[in-house]
């Protein structure tokens, strides 16, 4: 039998953005349910890793320098007002991490805390405690499958599946926050296999658009056959051909495409962290213990021995695309629907480029805060009518087949989508011809998914993941084809130059069966809430 719940705010997801959204909605007086596919506290890209935080003191010069540092890398698509807001909100939230959650930040000789980074397991364990103490009802292992909307198209809740109890659940809610993360296409990049683009698909089915989906080709360095991505530490690396000669031009930052090309051409790239001095080696161990798990367990000394590396697809998790925002409160194109963290576009503060952590961590806590408060305010504005609204499910692909012959196994779909979005010579090193062919294939997969893929229970979770990955790949390549230039992480071999001022604007992309991509100037501008 299905579980029926009602709430003012339903938060979907269990990472930092979801946790902050739930806490802030609850502090605003809302009754909150948080439903996560995994376990709030261990789920997502943050919990398993360690992250720097874009934490900058409120001095005008320091803030200005922080904003300027990545503007060029991001292709000048970020927005100064949003950067200011995020810097200020992050400053406040990190205070709360220290004071409310009593996070054990490192302390320097003068007794002052250093708050420039967070260890994922510690941070998220404490955030879960805070969510619980805020009175939020947490549903772990409860993937949301589709949204409910009312007669006017406003979001009115969601339906999901309790995978450890094998039963459905339904939450009637005044507003919904999607904090479901990005999409890394089940590449096994650290902590990212729960990030399959589910929120994008649900948002699009309710009528929301995406933004920045061309910025979706992040690849992280990891030891071959492992999951541990920490590209930043590879600034201490030298890269080598299989024969031990130095791979010229390869690097963790600008030279990552050289690594991709060599992996394609030679099948092997070796690495050694031989640029790290003694003090740096010790600091790396303390800074991020999980970085050493593969090395210690495989018996490799990464500072003195060569080891093979790979590039793991991180899609939009460390890309910047996501659900388009239409207000300062992280509202979307759909009334009652809010987006936060990697599920939302991060172009507003990053433009077309982001590394791991830092900006993403700051964005998760800031946008989570705003989305939680925004959703709470929206729910309050409905008054008594919230619970009386009609609420119909709007999920399609993977749940309600349109009929006809289609794919009937999610495994096949996942493998077929991965073959189009993971290879370096399709997604990383982009050309119009290859993108066009890949998009054609993905469109074909989508038709088969929409027509034939149907499942219930646990299989429905898998089917929806497969459908969401298919949709995400199609938005990515539709946007990548529309941007006929190179900007941020989006690199077109057939258009190697940045087209300024011609294409210095964000692209809004959407649709389910028929896809579209238009410059943001052609849609209603984001308005302050």
């Amino acid at each position: 039998m299905s579980i029926e719940l009602s709430a003012d705010v339903l938060v979907v997801g269990g990472g930092p953005a979801a946790a902050w959204a739930a806490v802030k909605a609850a502090e605003d007086g809302a009754r909150v349910v948080l439903a996560d596919k995994g376990y709030c506290g261990s789920s997502g890209a943050t919990a398993a890793a360690g992250t720097g935080v874009w934490y900058v003191p409120p001095h005008p010069e320091e803030r200005a320098a922080a904003k300027a540092s990545r503007e060029t890398l991001g292709g000048h698509l970020a927005d100064h007002r949003w950067m200011d807001r995020v810097l200020e909100q992050t400053w406040q939230n990190m205070d709360e991490v220290a004071e409310v959650s009593r996070y054990p930040f490192p302390v320097d000789a003068s007794g002052r805390q250093s708050r420039r980074g967070l260890q994922g397991p510690e941070y998220m364990r404490r955030m879960r405690v805070r969510v619980q103490r805020s009175g939020v009802r947490i549903l772990d292992h409860s993937p949301v499958l589709e949204l409910l909307t009312d007669a006017d198209g406003a979001v009115a809740g969601a339906v999901g599946y309790r995978r450890q109890e094998d039963r459905a659940f339904r939450v009637r809610a005044g507003a919904v926050v999607l904090a479901t993360g990005g999409c890394a296409f089940l590449s096994r990049a650290l902590g990212c296999n729960v990030n399959t683009g589910d929120g994008y698909l649900m948002a699009a089915e309710a009528g929301a658009a995406m933004s920045g989906m061309e910025f979706s080709n992040a690849y992280a360095i990891a030891p071959e056959f492992t999951s541990v991505t920490k590209t930043a530490y590879y600034t201490f690396a030298t890269f080598y051909h299989a024969d031990g000669s130095v791979l010229e031009g390869a690097g963790s930052q600008k030279g990552r495409s050289v690594i991709a090309r060599t992996l394609l051409a030679e099948g092997k790239v070796l690495c050694r962290l031989d640029r790290a001095g003694e003090a740096e080696r010790r600091a790396m161990r303390l800074g991020q213990p999980n970085f050493f798990l593969p090395f210690d367990r495989l018996g490799i000394d990464p500072f003195t021995q060569l080891f093979p590396v790979t590039l793991l697809a991180e899609g939009t998790v460390r890309g910047t695309g996501g659900i388009r925002l239409t207000g300062d409160d992280c509202a979307t194109d759909v009334p009652g629907l809010y987006a936060a963290g990697d599920a939302a576009t991060r172009e507003l503060i990053c433009g077309g480029f982001t590394g791991g952590g830092s900006h993403n961590a700051a964005w998760a806590m800031s946008s989570g805060t705003w989305a939680g408060r925004g959703a709470s305010a929206f729910a309050r504005s409905l008054g008594d009518t919230a619970g009386r609204r009609a609420a119909s499910p709007v999920g399609g692909a993977g749940l309600r087949p349109a009929g006809g012959a289609g794919r009937d196994t999610h495994r096949e779909v996942v493998a077929a989508v991965q073959a189009e979005v993971i290879p370096y010579d399709k997604n990383y090193l982009r050309t119009g011809a290859v993108l066009t062919r890949a998009l054609g294939t993905l469109n074909g997969i989508w038709r088969e998914v929409r027509d034939g893929l149907a499942a219930s229970g646990e299989s429905a979770v898998r089917a929806r993941q497969a459908a969401a990955m298919t949709a995400t790949g199609r938005w990515m390549y539709t946007a990548a084809l529309a941007r006929t230039e190179t900007r941020g992480m989006h690199k077109r071999a057939d258009f190697p130059a940045q087209d300024d001022p011609g294409q210095r604007r964000r692209l809004v992309t959407g649709g389910l069966d028929e896809l579209w991509s238009v410059p943001e100037t052609a849609v209603a501008q984001a308005v302050p809430a």
Partner: protein, 115 residues
């Protein structure tokens, strides 16, 4: 991927079943957690971090690779130790001052030598 649930150490607290983000474990009839869906393991090491008695071992490879529990020695529980989780330990977060990520000078020798 998760390879070991030590029957000898496990206290059947169900913590790993609760915290695994991809729901890899089931509770077996004998009460011990069993690795029911290893192919869903994303090698995130979170189960190991949360196990209060260091009964779990996650192999670092993202494909199955059977491991002999007897040969693990100090590796069992080593991630939890590094995180500083467990009674009497200093939280790793307290000590987590990473290196400055400036771009260091290139190495002196051009030829890499395997050791």
């Amino acid at each position: 991927m998760i390879e070991i649930v030590s029957a000898e150490r496990c206290i059947t607290c169900d913590k790993c079943i609760a915290v695994c983000p991809t729901n890899v474990f089931d509770r077996a009839p004998d009460g011990l957690p069993e690795i029911a869906r290893q192919e869903d393991c994303q090698t995130c090491f979170m189960c190991e971090a949360y196990c209060p008695v260091d009964a779990l071992f996650v192999s670092p490879t993202t494909h199955p690779e059977p491991v002999d529990e007897a040969g693990l020695g100090d590796l069992l529980g080593s991630y939890r130790e590094r995180l500083g989780w467990g009674r009497g330990r200093t939280p790793g977060a307290r000590l987590a001052v990473g290196p400055e990520l400036r771009r260091p000078a290139p190495p002196r020798d051009k030829k890499g030598t395997t050791s």
